[in-house]
Amino acid sequence: MIIADLTSKELATIMAGPGLRWGCGPFTMQLKTAISYFFDYFQLIYGRHPIIEEPWSDIADFHIQLTSSTKHRRFWRPQVFFQLDGMVQLAPFPKDHAPPMFEWGWNFAIAGRANHFLILHTAVVAKGGRAMILPGIPGSGKSTLCAALSLRGWRLLSDEFALLRPGDGLVFPTARPVALKNQSIDIIREFDKQAVLGPEFSKTRKGTVSHLQPSEDSVMLMEQPALPAWVVSPQYQEGQTPILQQVPKEHSFLRIAGNAFNYETLGGDGFKAVARIVRSCNMYDFRYSNLEEAVDTLERMVEDSP
């Protein structure tokens, strides 16, 4: 049974009651909330994700609650709180921003807790069993490029994290939405008229945000990890024709290690995991402006790779 199979009334009853347990790649989620407008967003974006029914054979990785202001702030600028195991560790958002609060809070939770993975701060897409890691500083266009690739048949693993298992170097998908910001929203609408986007949230910390529904393939295959094959560091540059420039291995190690949230936490395992990526992947700096051309360039590079 998937989340879209529930009527919004059923979903509301479960979420406001015991909470909904559902699967998202390597993670099992338990989510409670009574914020009613959140359900539409949730069903649109996570509709294809599987519900995990009782009896449960394993624990949930994250117990999340979205709650709204009580007491004095109920009427005056109400807020939404992200609670992880009953703890509020993040500043609240305005109440009509529950979806960005949920996605951002969940990112925070993964980055802090999923230390059985080496966690890179990067978008990841895959073709076949091979993954392309797309690390970039905020504003580099990694989310936009990853959205574009996922709309052209690449599998979306994540627009935020590469979750690498230290033992074998496999990267695990979560098939969550791509958070598009500001101009990227219209660029992607323009790029693919079929793209399904959630509502726009304006005046977040990153400007206006809208979430791209992950493709059907990405969700269907989210139990299947992929092996990193390329590291492509995108940098949008106005008027630039696509250029791929290979990064020497001795530089790529530090760049990848520096991109990880928990390189130091993992100690020796972190070192080995990064070394494995450096050995098995070529790393490129990628400058581009036009998305169609960028996707074509990467497609050609992939076809030329053995």
Binding site: T28, S57, I59, D85, V88, G112, A114, N115, T265, L266
Partner: protein, 369 residues
């Protein structure tokens, strides 16, 4: 598990005997791990399970969570050892000894209870007269005082038992420099020269020291049952339990504990520690010690009230249920610790300043994992 069991009772049962964990229903394992996380004890628990050697029989996700928790504790331990190394280097060429307190002392003494113990900073002790010198040495080596408002500066420097924390510019790690184990303004003032006189050298080191076993234990006692660390709750209690268990095997530990507590004027907090440890985590305290410390109990009504409050602070709650009684217990103990910390006039002005500035109902919720 019987239905009437509260989450807290379930938690304590399994904490005391980790071999029960694999047999718990998966929902209880889930609850247990979340409670352990909130109590800051999940890494400790992961390490205790390791020594039981049945992690193989646990579900994949449980193993992942335990593995992640172990990683975090290992990072903390690496950080701590490196920071001690850096402090030692900063003190090089001076006659100042590096005297470690709390977590750093437990770890570098290789105590079993330090395995998987999470730490935030390094605590060191020095003579009051050396404070300026220590601050100067650390400043010269990359640490700087954490930016504080003038009131907080004064709070630390004039009234507290430590300097404002110093943070390293690049590594962002913090050092707390203590000259005593209780605030200068407090009701009790254990004499630091007694503690310093009994310090012991770490094996294999030429100038890294810790307090003696009894003093290390009494320092833990003081923080949890006298000063304001009571809200570390069970985490603080398991530290004490670990110290008592480990040092209790040494021949003269129990014989010297009570006399030393009297000498330092800490017998009352020791009474609470012994009572609570025995009751809640089954700390193995010899019967004659449990009996002897009773003369330091407060009057019966105070004793009963304190036991009630302490129990509320030590037994973890269901992570998602806000419990008004626990909050009330926290509030009363918070008031008590401040009452003991400062004379009434000073306390009044201090609390007024603090409460006006930042008092919030959810202070407790903002503790980090």
């Amino acid at each position: 598990m019987a239905k009437t069991q509260t989450p807290g009772e379930m938690f304590l049962l399994v904490w005391k005997d980790p071999t029960l964990f694999p047999a718990l229903k998966i929902a209880d394992q889930d609850l247990f791990l979340r409670m352990a996380r909130r109590a800051g004890l999940i890494s400790r628990f992961a390490n205790r399970l390791d020594s039981e050697d049945f992690t193989g029989s646990l579900s994949p996700k449980v193993q992942n969570h335990l593995q992640g928790a172990r990683m975090v504790a290992q990072e903390d331990a690496r950080m701590l050892r490196w920071e001690v190394n850096r402090i030692k280097r900063a003190f090089l060429g001076t006659s100042l000894p590096v005297i470690l307190l709390k977590g750093a002392a437990y770890l570098l003494s290789d105590l079993p209870m330090a395995r998987g113990r999470l730490v935030a900073d390094v605590d060191i002790l020095c003579h009051f007269s050396d404070l300026a010198k220590v601050e100067e040495l650390l400043t010269a080596n990359g640490w700087q005082g954490v930016k504080l408002e003038p009131y907080d500066q004064r709070y630390y420097r004039d009234w507290m038992h430590e300097l404002p924390p110093m943070r390293h510019k690049e590594r962002l790690t913090e050092v707390d420099i203590h000259h005593a184990i209780l605030p200068r303004t407090g009701r009790l003032n254990p004499d630091s020269t007694l503690l310093l006189a009994d310090k012991i050298l770490l094996p294999g080191e030429d100038d890294i020291w810790t307090l003696s076993p009894v003093d290390m234990a009494l320092h833990g006692v003081v923080h949890l049952f006298y000063d304001s660390d009571f809200d570390k709750g069970l985490r603080g209690l398991t530290d004490l339990d670990g110290l008592f268990r480990h040092f209790g095997q040494q021949e003269d530990f129990w014989q010297t504990l009570i006399p030393r507590a009297r000498q330092l004027n800490l017998a009352r907090p020791l009474y609470y520690a012994v009572q609570t440890g025995v009751e809640i985590v089954a700390t193995p305290v010899p019967a004659e010690i449990r009996e002897a410390i009773k003369v330091h109990a407060p009057s019966r009504p105070v004793d009963l009230l304190m036991q009630l409050l302490i129990r509320r602070m030590m037994v973890p709650n269901h992570p998602e249920e806000r419990d008004l009684l626990s909050w009330l217990a926290w509030l009363l103990l918070f008031i008590r610790s401040h009452w003991l910390r400062m004379p009434p006039g000073l306390l009044l002005s201090h609390l007024t300043k603090k409460w006006v500035r930042k008092w919030r109902f959810d202070v407790r919720n903002r503790r980090t994992v």
